[in-house]
């Protein structure tokens, strides 16, 4: 039988939120040549049982959410990045070397319950 799940309002559900990292805010604009900042984003929101079957979530999040619906003591599944992408950074070190480096997993593209 379908288990009645409390209707969570959409905006509280797990999804990607915008977060722009501005290197000037960190005082790093003095050595990072480019980019000036980047859209990193983050994941936040509830993972009720109904969501784990729609959002690209993991199997154990589905089981955990199922258990949580049966036994509220079970912690809820958590909202985590499910797709990440890299960025490249051009910066200068203390030896006047100009360095171009690629960093994996710096931008959150998608979120899911995990």
């Amino acid at each position: 039988a379908a288990i009645p799940v409390p209707k969570a309002s959409c905006k509280n559900l797990c999804h990607r939120h915008q977060l722009f990292i501005n290197f000037r805010d960190l005082g790093w604009h003095k050595w990072i040549i480019a980019p000036k900042g980047f859209m990193a984003n983050y994941c936040h929101g509830d993972c009720p049982f109904s969501l784990t079957v729609s959002l690209n979530s993991s199997n154990y999040a589905f089981m955990q959410a199922l258990m949580q619906a049966v036994d509220p003591e079970t912690p809820q599944a958590v909202c985590i990045p499910s797709k990440l992408s890299p960025i490249s950074m051009l910066y200068q070190d203390n030896n006047d070397n100009v360095i171009l480096r690629h960093y994996e997993d710096m931008v959150v593209d998608e979120c899911g319950c995990g």
Partner: protein, 229 residues
Amino acid sequence: VQFQEYVFLQFLDLDKAPSPQKFQPVPYILKKIFQDREAAATTGVSQDLCYVKELGVRGNVLRFLPDQGFFLYPKKPFQASSCLQKLLYFNLSAIKEREQLTLAQLGLDLGPSSYYNLGPELELALFLVQEPHVWGQFTPKPGKIFALQSVPWPQGALRFNLLDVAKDWNDNPQKNFGLFLEILVKEDRDSGVNFQPEDACTRLRRSLHASLLVVTLNSDQCHPSRKRR
């Protein structure tokens, strides 16, 4: 914030936030690779960050090292037609232990490659310096010759593959005494144009710019691309 900054800098493989006095010009090749990567990221094109297609080598860190050497002004020039002598030195200490060198390209920019203000043909010789430079000694004791080539005007930028030498310097930093560069003016009888070698040499000394582009592969960060779930 101080603590978090330290953690994030560690992640960027930096011991502390650099504090450069002034920004160096960004070399064209790095700018181009950066812009290509930004464009690919914007259009969502998946890319192998551990392969530098513009240079045809694997690697995820590209460093442009400026020359930290100096000009030599010997009383008695090494050879009569000597135009310029310079010790070239590159500090490889920024390369971390677990990084593998996949490219080391010496760039010698001899000035604008324009047909305006042509100068004499040059002969360029590069030697590996195998002993520390003794102050007061005008010319380092050049070791094995590394490259010898004539350079017709206009020159522009010359490139030399220094991978084996850089690997040896990286493995044995105490052996890194740099390179000895000598540029000679070639006698040019049949052109009919009488160049003033001194002017050409003065111009050359002003415009010469040496740099070393190194690419390294950090195996911790360049695992074989795993299939994402």
